[in-house]
Symmetry: C2
Subunit: 454 residues, 2 copies
């Protein structure tokens, strides 16, 4: 639906810009919703972006910079003057402004901070790591006091609300603090409305809110929010002082980011930080080459196994026909297992202590799979007229290889998790290569025992 | 953090249950948060579950059934009497109750519906497909009228709020409808609080809310909600009548479900519907065997390629050593590309019309990768004393195979998407097998040209 909106707007705005019809371009852009504005804006060329942004309403400029991909926003910001940027950053949500500043050169950050009207909300956020609770949180949010009456609390909110953007999620859970900012409880906006106006906030709040430390990893924050269905999550420091809140819109971004990273790692590459088409060929190559080189070198071990069985290969050339089939099947069975385990670990269906149950589960599955596959492979080998003994060797090898690869495929991610390595990293390609070499060793060993001519 | 909470509670509750200390077990269970209650409950044995649930507070029973995995909740419900179940379902949120009923046998559903106090909210939800907007939505939510004053709207909400569970996300966006239930606008709870109490709702609402049809796929709903940072999404029928709303907690579940499916498909298996350890060996085998069989059969084509080059293999046995390395490298390079493309499609970084740009991007990346890998493989082949000509054949083949597999790896998912097939399905293992056979054909063709003895 919004793809069409964005495409149409983009075509029209490009036309306006070519003709120098700034006003038309601006009013069309400003009529879109912020994520759509950002999409259109990202597709304009650099010069158009640099010229257009300072002419927009300051609120729209802030929205666009918030919604753009981090790297693109940073590139645009670098091209703008500090004088033009400072008021836009003043208008942005503090956490987004801090993220953007974190991507700029130190010199530029200094220039911008010197020109901003209010740096008190942004500056404390600059010290936190990007992927931690502190890096996600915003430091601007309403807070209540225990002894406040409900009607006084609502009046505070009423005074605070007009500053908020439409769609802001910062005021649906209200956190209760004392004079030293210690977190004491939480009350939802709905509960506040439903409560007797003369009651005290302390009487209706939940005195045991779920909270995280500033250093908590963003993935853990996302997991807590999704597990307990939270619209916002309070961030505290070591002394239980409330220093910020994380809202659900940030959570969804984190989930997307982490999923992308997992999927790219399962494919055997380091995660790209930018949208696919904006990442240059050199950068993509760089992200992928390390893994490919490593696998190439380990794959030569498989070659070494073949060299070791040189004599068998020379005597019975037809043994070679089944090499791709056997290593393919082993790799496929192993990667099915690995992706099931990686995901089960991620959603906490299994824990490390379950490794014996998991292994037993996968070995039985492997045996069943192996027997079915062996029957088919046996038939196929007979059709190739390789002789019943070669066919038997292939069939027995398949059973052994599939049991072996489902076992390795289940233990590797658990071992990785135990050692504190991201289990997605060892999965997929790495597992296949390990299974390749050992699988061929199994195959030729079985062939050596069964075939009389060897 | 909550892993420890759950584990400790589970140990303690099991102890209480063994000693027949029901009251202690119940009061400990009821002190936990709902997702933790459900986790503990899922780890009890069937008999304990069946005995314990009817003794719990009806609200806790409802929470537990809502939070349990769908299949486990259904299994438990089947074991319970309709008399015991009906009041629990009355207490559950309508969308969750409808989901549970959808997993039960028709006869049981009839018995339960006959005993429920209020089926008007649940029954209309039963007709919608599980994975559509209609299947996700709830039909119980507050709605406002245009001509209502802000203070009247707040009074309505105040009357409605006490029915809500803590943490409910159904009243943060309030939808405005007319007498025929036509959707006319949306206003956030915060805006309502901030507005002049004498103004009319129609004057402060956003008259152009984002909405979906009941048949819209859940993935599309999740995408809209995350793109536009929505806490809830209105669902309309063909006549623009508001029939339900989807809340952000459902969205997070959908995102998790879809990610799990994607990751399992990338690993080459049909998605499991249940938590890993609860899925039996037979069922797991069934989900995986089809794919493995298909790949086994296609892998025999690779064997056919080898048979075709039987003569070359007999003359130069050392050519065989490089088979695993070449098909491995081709498969790995291809799957890196495929996972990058699948993910870029999913997050809409690329569209189908970008296929030429994507192909050009991947071919150049493939060339660069191929040249680096070829240099290393050339050196390795020389070390194996296979002679410089075999080493040259291997190096040239790697360049060709990597360019070929990055190209195939980028086009396959785009082609699948074009044909309306889930691109994750063709990726990973399927792509590897395709690249295997063609890769070996490239290799032996190059060898035939270069090696004088063939």
């Amino acid at each position: 639906m919004e793809t069409t909106v964005v495409d149409n707007a983009l075509t029209q705005i490009s036309l306006y810009l070519q003709k120098g019809q700034w006003e038309q371009a601006i009013s069309l852009l400003e009529s879109l919703r912020p994520p759509d504005q950002a999409d259109v804006f990202e597709d304009l060329d650099e010069q158009q972006q640099t010229e257009l942004l300072p002419r927009l309403d300051i609120e729209d400029s802030a929205d666009i910079l918030e919604e753009m991909e981090d790297e693109e926003a940073a590139e645009l910001a670098i091209r703008l003057q500090a004088e033009a940027l400072a008021p836009i950053l003043d208008e942005m949500e503090a956490d987004e402004a801090a993220d953007l500043l974190g991507d700029l050169p130190v010199e530029k950050v200094r220039e911008i901070l010197a020109r901003m009207k209010d740096v008190s909300a942004v500056q404390p956020l600059l010290i936190h790591a990007d992927e931690s609770a502190g890096g996600l949180m915003t430091s601007e949010f309403p807070a209540l006091r225990r002894r406040q009456t409900v009607s006084a609390a609502l009046a505070c909110l009423k005074a605070w609300a007009p500053e908020e953007e439409p769609g802001s999620q910062r005021a649906y859970y209200l956190y209760v603090i004392d004079e030293q900012q210690h977190l004491q409880g939480v009350v939802s906006l709905l509960d506040l409305i439903a409560a007797d106006p003369l009651k005290q906030v302390g009487d209706i709040m939940d005195p045991d809110p779920i909270a995280v430390q500033a250093g908590t990893d963003q993935e853990e924050c996302a997991r807590l929010m999704s597990r307990y269905d939270l619209i916002s999550l309070p961030v505290i420091n070591g002394e239980n002082r409330l220093i910020g809140i994380i809202t659900a819109d940030d959570l969804v971004e984190v989930l997307e980011e982490e999923t992308t990273e997992d999927i790219q790692r399962l494919g055997g590459a380091q995660p790209l930080q930018k949208p696919y088409l904006n990442t240059g060929v050199l950068e993509v190559t760089w992200k992928r080459i390390g893994w490919l080189l490593l696998l190439l070198v380990t794959a030569t071990f498989t070659g070494t196994v073949l060299r070791y069985f040189e004599y068998e290969l020379e005597v019975v050339v037809s043994l070679a026909y089944f090499i791709p089939l056997l290593i393919g099947t082993g790799g496929n069975a192993g990667s099915q297992t690995t992706s099931a385990i990686v995901r089960a670990l991620a959603v906490r269906d299994i824990a490390l202590r379950d490794f014996a149950r998991v292994l037993w589960h996968e070995m039985r599955t492997g045996l069943l799979l192996g027997v079915c596959l062996a029957a088919v492979a046996f038939g196929r080998a007979l059709l190739w007229q390789t002789g019943p003994l070669v066919a038997l060797a292939v069939a027995l090898s398949i059973v052994a290889i599939v049991v072996w690869s489902t076992s390795v495929g289940s233990l590797l991610p658990l071992l990785a998790a135990r050692l504190g390595i991201d289990p997605t990293v060892v999965s997929g390609p790495a597992m296949s290569t390990l299974v390749d070499a050992t699988g061929l060793f199994i195959y030729f060993s079985i062939a050596r025992v069964i075939l009389p001519m060897i």
